[in-house]
Homo-oligomer: 148 residues x 2
Amino acid sequence: MAESVWTPMLTPGHYFTRIARALARIGDKRLAAVGFATAQLPVLSALRDGEKKSQTELARWAKVEQPTMAQLIARMERDGLVQREPDPADRRSSLISLTQTAREQLPAGREILRQGNVEAMRGLSDAEVETLLGLLKRVLANVEAMEG
Amino acid sequence: MAESVWTPMLTPGHYFTRIARALARIGDKRLAAVGFATAQLPVLSALRDGEKKSQTELARWAKVEQPTMAQLIARMERDGLVQREPDPADRRSSLISLTQTAREQLPAGREILRQGNVEAMRGLSDAEVETLLGLLKRVLANVEAMEG
DNA sequence: TGTTTATGTATAGGCCCCTATGTACATCGA
DNA sequence: TCGATGTACATAGGGGCCTATACATAAACA
């Protein structure tokens, strides 16, 4: 990709990065209206029906490392979105669940996310969106296979 | 995207995020062998032929905000990859250029990046890679248009 | 059952990215 | 030429992600 002038920014990797960053900026700005952030969405969806899950379960679900989830949960707890209770079956662990406030804002947050995805795909036909999703899954499988 | 069970992780946005993160992890690990990091690549390429550029120019080139570039340059200077000299034409500014060390490692870093992109696209035909790049450009244009 | 091994969390330290803000210097126009 | 406006950097503060490490408790097993 690009011979004479070496431009890492025209590389697929850089496009992924820029799109991901832009989506996070936009999502965070819009979700702030209901008190959420994009990084919290996997947690919110995992606990949406009153489920209680451990930090490790949430980390695996959201595909982030455990200390990352620990920080995220800490911020969410600080902001009144989740609560912890000791796990009666395992004294190392605590169970995390959504607060009433978080549950109430959930539909609004969900709608903001949906709308954002629609706008990001604007101008793409349904078939093109399908194609893109298929390619993304294959690339994701490739890069995750590269880490072994 | 997913009706009954709400799963933000099956959304295009989350795929972009995961791919970008995985590419950064892989790239950083591989580039560490030559003393580079993925975030530095735009700077390295901008200054590859002995050019001298200001921090602001580099920020615009790399598509990051000025304070982000300030930190990046500071780390690169600490690690002996770049050097600063006062800009004779503007006393607010300094000109940044690569050190001898950085220039020597450049071809190796470039090759690592190229190889990484090849592996990430494994299994995709040339036509599919073209399709993907075209879709990425359109999505990037969409999301950047959303920030106004 | 006692010891090893596995698992759940916490903590420390670091990179990268962002917004908001302040300061010094450049520039431009009245 | 001087004041208004713009531009280059620095600094402060925070989110989000990662690796490495240290504990405490569980589980498995010799």
